[in-house]
Symmetry: C2
Amino acid sequence: MCQLLGMNCNVPTDIVFSFTGFATRGGRTDVHNDGWGIAFFEGAGVRHFVDHEAAMASPIADLIKRWPIKSKNVIAHIRKATQGRVALENCHPFVRELWGRYWVFAHNGDLKQYAPSLTGAFRPVGNTDSELAFCFLLQELRRRFGDSAPSLADLSAALRELVAEIAAHGPFNMMLSDGSALFAHCSTNLHYIVRQYPFTTAALSDEEMTVDFSEVTTPQDRVAIIVTAPLTNNEIWTQFASGEMKVFVDGAPTAL
Amino acid sequence: MCQLLGMNCNVPTDIVFSFTGFATRGGRTDVHNDGWGIAFFEGAGVRHFVDHEAAMASPIADLIKRWPIKSKNVIAHIRKATQGRVALENCHPFVRELWGRYWVFAHNGDLKQYAPSLTGAFRPVGNTDSELAFCFLLQELRRRFGDSAPSLADLSAALRELVAEIAAHGPFNMMLSDGSALFAHCSTNLHYIVRQYPFTTAALSDEEMTVDFSEVTTPQDRVAIIVTAPLTNNEIWTQFASGEMKVFVDGAPTAL
């Protein structure tokens, strides 16, 4: 199994604090050392970093811990290989284009007897169940909605159906973003927190590091962090129910 | 206009030497400071780095100059914006998937009255003529060959026709790779060199830097470097003819 980290905000925010704790699980405080990756939306563009080295040993992970890239939607992943060998093409997150937008996807879980019918419009490059599920999701979204992106409500409803279909094959904790919303589905383990005014100080569980968010934010800022296991030990995280999908927009879960 | 750099090799090779000279043109020895990018194939996977800062000021470019990523196919680009604002989604190279392979593309030139008919299978995210041409190329390859990749000979023949069609709209110096071959087309400016046994010492034109390739290679190694303007001042580079497309495999141009 792997671990997931996502961030959705109302203003571009850096993920240095959360990523620092998360990356420590990639080889030091936990066993997820079969590669890692992170993708940042920046406007319509995506900065995409993947590496088949452990996050703790990766020079790119080190750069990201020091360089505050600001983004409204981020998805990161540290990998403990279950299906697919340790190789760059099997590192999450995966990126594809649909409707003139990039889509970013990462998965933690293990799908069994999962062989969806692919038409060829989106085809996996590597050999993970995860990339297969991502290709299936995008194919089915395009099949349902044609050449134009639907409303967020219609998109969310379609994703709920598709995700449930995939999750019937095994654990499917996943995060998906098109740069405007972040969709997070829990099969087994997912938690989130919304940080907003009045901001407080947070302390990482995996590293000796604290941040007083009131010093680095404005009262209008709102940031949702979604992660496999809580990153801090002095804040209250909300656990997803099994089978629950939440849609985060502007730093908070929506009613969609 | 922009500048292009490509590398095609028979064994995974680092591009630190060539990229160091090339990146210097991104804001210091030349004016290409509206972003840059580089993509490295690693097996079937791709490491893709783009930045809208000048290459000379970019922390990622700095990392790439120090960290020898080994690859058999690399494409890099420094941008002087002609069409499309300075934004991450307009930075080359662009990456898309076709036939279960990643394709990497970069362009230098300026296409006029270029509005190809897109079916929606590949759609630009940004607003450059370059990404439009890339989407058109992949769409037409898929239309001609369906769901299966053709032979390299058939692929090369198809690309020659498509590239000529695009180049009728203006300068279309471009590089394209699927990780097995590197296709390079020249409208106005492109040069290449093949480095092979016996290797010699090369000296960059844009930086005080020399490398004795005989010390870092084996006699079997072969590396083709393709670039807008020659990177070294003590080697003989071959200029492409206008309208010429070359197909590089295993570090040398082929007869295809």
